[in-house]
């Protein structure tokens, strides 16, 4: 399984990839997770890759090979849609965060992204993740709402997912995150 997570720096892509890594480890699969640190974290576009299966060589996902793109922001979902294989799954939060060229008025935030993504030969989940995360108790749990949606699309047992979350997320935040995960699973 090849998963690409795209987000805006600070949205919790790293934690999400670590939950997925834990999930694969618990399933006794070979797994690689590739992260981005440093300069790109400061509110920029960030990408992490998670791959698991029998044997994994490259830690990065090649274009056209992602089973899933998990995007925490709409524009970032569109940006990495080309990494999906045919019939792949795009799970995207419908949240809009304006990048600097849009804020400063140099460019426009494209207004037809969802419609245009719908035309692709993929399964598209356009999720109201921020609202669900707020319902769970914190907007910071948006990432785990989306993880819930991802769980729903796979054959991996639900308890494996919650186990991975319990083993990765700091204890103080666990309740909110498990709630967020459930809300994602049940959309």
């Amino acid at each position: 399984m090849n998963i690409l997570i795209s987000a805006v720096g600070g949205q919790g892509a790293l934690l999400t990839s670590r939950i997925l890594g834990k999930l694969a480890l618990n399933l006794n699969l070979d797994v690689k997770v590739s992260e981005v640190h440093g300069m790109s974290q400061r509110g920029g576009s960030v990408v992490t890759y998670v791959k698991f299966g029998e044997v994994i060589y490259s830690p990065i996902v090649e274009k056209g090979t992602a089973d899933v793109v998990l995007a925490f922001e709409l524009l970032e979902g569109a940006r990495y849609a080309s990494y999906l294989k045919r019939k792949g799954t795009l799970i995207v939060s419908n949240q809009r965060i304006d990048p600097m060229p849009v804020i400063s008025g140099v460019m426009e935030y494209p207004d037809r992204l969802v419609e245009e993504l719908r035309e692709l030969p993929i399964s598209l989940y356009n999720v109201n993740a921020v609202e669900l995360a707020e319902k769970a108790g914190s907007i910071r749990a948006t990432n785990v709402v989306l993880l819930g949606v991802l769980a729903k699309t796979t054959n991996i047992e639900k308890y494996e997912w919650t186990k991975a979350i319990v083993e990765t997320v700091p204890k103080g935040l666990l309740e909110i995150n498990l709630k967020a995960f459930d809300l994602g699973c049940n959309i």
Partner: protein, 582 residues
């Protein structure tokens, strides 16, 4: 037990398992997490050093004094450490000395793509090169063994994808390594010509012995499968190639310098076509071609940038994988990294821009002020360069130009390599105005302590450097400390200090807004829509919390930390704190 570990975390684990007891380094992406993870092992005496040169010198001392040692840095950090690095090659070591250097192909967070292998070759110091986290850990052990058997420091060459990828690691028990005796041996460690000339011969002989070792070591692994295609590779490029061609034959070079000539000749002669797939420079390729062997390398594999499976697939198989091809009616705007909401650098650069000053900048979060809309920095070349460069402006163009220029440098970068530049300005009678942006942390690499923060790597309180006293000791008479949020004072001070015909030091103080110990507690601001005239002046500071809708400013309450910088800039008093509505 198997654990999923970041490459850098696995290097730290390797340090622990193989008995390293001293670790030093300076933060730099992608190497930072080595030291951050090493500190978790209580028995390792670890530190953030002021810079890489000092880190390596402490490391060399520790090795001679008998402790297995690791020194960590990013590729350009090795430039700073080059003097001790070149100089320790001939004398060699006592206990094992590993220099972990992380290259950044693709320049994710760096000013260049220099290939550390050249530095090993220049210093005649061997290089081991892991391709995943398991090897990161095990190659620390291998490097220590080579170091002690051959009496040489060893480079552990990492790269962004090796350092920052997690893969499975087998956790082992810690080995019992006893502290060696202090090696009191002036005939080895005093590199005066009489000694160094003898050591030069020994180093050359060491290289011959290492070449012989390269032929037999398990670090260099031959995997014969289909012999139609043979691939010689190292590091993460091995993983990329395996993904594309799992059934080809491989010679994976875990010891990437010196190379095993016979082993390579045998491999090349056993395969029909041999590709050399190396990230960055054609170092293997040129050496192998010099032996008269026919191989394909940089004719098809790019030198520039990071490799990936797609590049290798196109180069070797002439095709790529067909996925989906989205097309969008509007161009997707880029999302560059930006200064955080509330960042105290923002106001400083807003004022610098307003005054139209030439800004010699430096390396840190604040380099982001070079980009729109702030666009308030002219140069950023290497760590610490700002001060010397601003003085260079003055040397070339005279005092009047100095009155229109400043050097801007962060606290950690100033300590790293800015101090000597400041001494030069004073000593050689310059007028340069230097601003130290003191946010009490090493920011860009993710919050590391430094000599200005008052804390050590282990979080113990310690003496923090006093920049004012330091400035006075150097001989600067004009020193001003300004609150970075106080824009009017800052503007006034800048006008005065740039005009002064002597060196000035301005220290802007405010802890990084992301620092837990300095957490901002202010509430998000709001826009009074009746007062907002839609002039867009607030957009000039490039704060991601502010955007425009229906020609009125609006503030994203999730992002805003209430620093009030925008409300200071708004001429109409339209941006206010909740509760201040009237």
């Amino acid at each position: 037990m198997k654990k999923l570990m970041l490459g850098n975390e696995a290097v730290a684990r390797g340090a622990y398992e193989y008995g390293i007891t001293v670790a030093t380094g300076y933060p730099g992406t992608p190497s930072t997490e080595i030291i951050e993870n090493i500190v978790k092992y209580e028995n390792i005496n670890a530190e953030w050093s002021p810079n890489e040169k000092v880190a390596l010198e402490v490391g060399i001392g520790a090795s001679i004094a008998g402790a297995r040692t690791i020194v960590s840095m990013k590729h350009v950090g090795l430039n700073v450490a080059m003097d001790p690095f070149m100089s320790i090659s001939y004398p060699g070591v006592n206990a094992g000395l590993v220099v972990a250097v992380a290259d950044d192909p693709g320049q994710h967070s760096s000013q260049n793509e220099q290939d550390t292998r050249y530095f090993g070759i220049a210093a005649k110091i061997p290089i081991v090169e892991p391709s995943d986290s398991e090897e990161c850990k095990e190659f620390v052990g291998a490097a220590l063994e080579i170091s002690e058997s051959f009496d040489t420091p060893v480079i552990l060459r990492l790269s962004t994808r090796v350092s920052h990828s997690q893969s499975l690691v087998t956790i082992k028990e810690k080995q019992d390594i006893i502290l060696k005796d202090y090696d009191e041996n002036p005939n080895k460690y005093i590199v005066a010509p009489a000694v160094a000339k003898k050591r030069r011969v020994i180093a050359e002989d060491r290289l011959r012995r290492l070449e012989a070792f390269a032929e037999t070591t398990a670090l260099n692994k031959v995997e014969y499968k289909d012999k139609k295609i043979g691939i010689i590779t190292s590091g993460v490029a091995y993983q990329y190639a395996k993904e594309v061609l799992p059934n080809a034959s491989y010679l994976k070079l875990g010891l990437s310098y010196p190379l095993p000539e016979n082993k390579i000749k045998e491999f090349v002669n056993s395969c029909e076509v041999v590709y050399v797939i190396e990230e960055l420079e054609p170092i293997f390729e040129e050496k192998i071609k010099s032996w008269g062997l026919k191989i394909v390398g940089k004719d098809v594999i790019p030198t520039i940038g990071e490799l990936n499976p797609e590049i290798i697939r196109k180069a070797l198989l002439g095709r790529s994988i067909e996925g989906v091809s989205p097309s969008f009616s509007k161009e997707l705007p880029i999302r560059p990294p930006i200064l955080c909401p509330g960042c105290h650098h923002r106001g400083v650069f807003y004022v610098l821009k307003k005054l139209g000053l030439h800004v010699a900048g430096d390396i840190g979060c604040y380099t982001l002020a070079a980009f729109p809309p702030l666009s308030a920095m002219d140069t950023s070349i290497c760590m610490g360069a700002s001060i010397g460069m601003a003085f260079g402006f003055e040397k070339a163009r005279g005092k009047d130009f100095a009155k229109k220029s400043v050097a801007v440098i962060g606290d950690s970068t100033f300590i790293h390599s800015g101090i000597t530049g400041l001494i030069d300005v004073v000593y050689n009678k310059g007028n340069t105005t230097v601003i130290i942006l003191d946010n009490s942390i090493t920011g860009m690499t993710g919050h590391q302590e430094n000599p200005a923060t008052g804390y050590t790597l282990r979080g113990q309180t310690t003496t923090s450097i006093d920049f004012e006293a330091l400035g006075r000791a150097i001989g600067i008479k004009r020193i001003k400390v300004v609150d970075a949020y106080d824009l009017s004072t800052l503007e006034q001070v800048l006008k005065e200090e740039t005009l002064a015909e002597e060196p000035s030091l301005i220290i802007t103080k405010r802890p990084c807004v992301l620092l837990k110990r300095a957490k901002m507690v202010n509430k998000a601001l709001i826009v009074n829509e009746e007062s907002c005239k839609g002039c867009r002046a607030c957009l000039k500071i490039g704060c991601p919390s502010i955007s425009f809708k229906d020609n009125k400013a609006q503030i994203n309450k999730m992002l805003c930390v209430g620093c009030k910088l925008c409300s200071k800039i708004c001429k109409f008093g339209a941006i206010i704190a909740i509760g201040d509505e009237d």
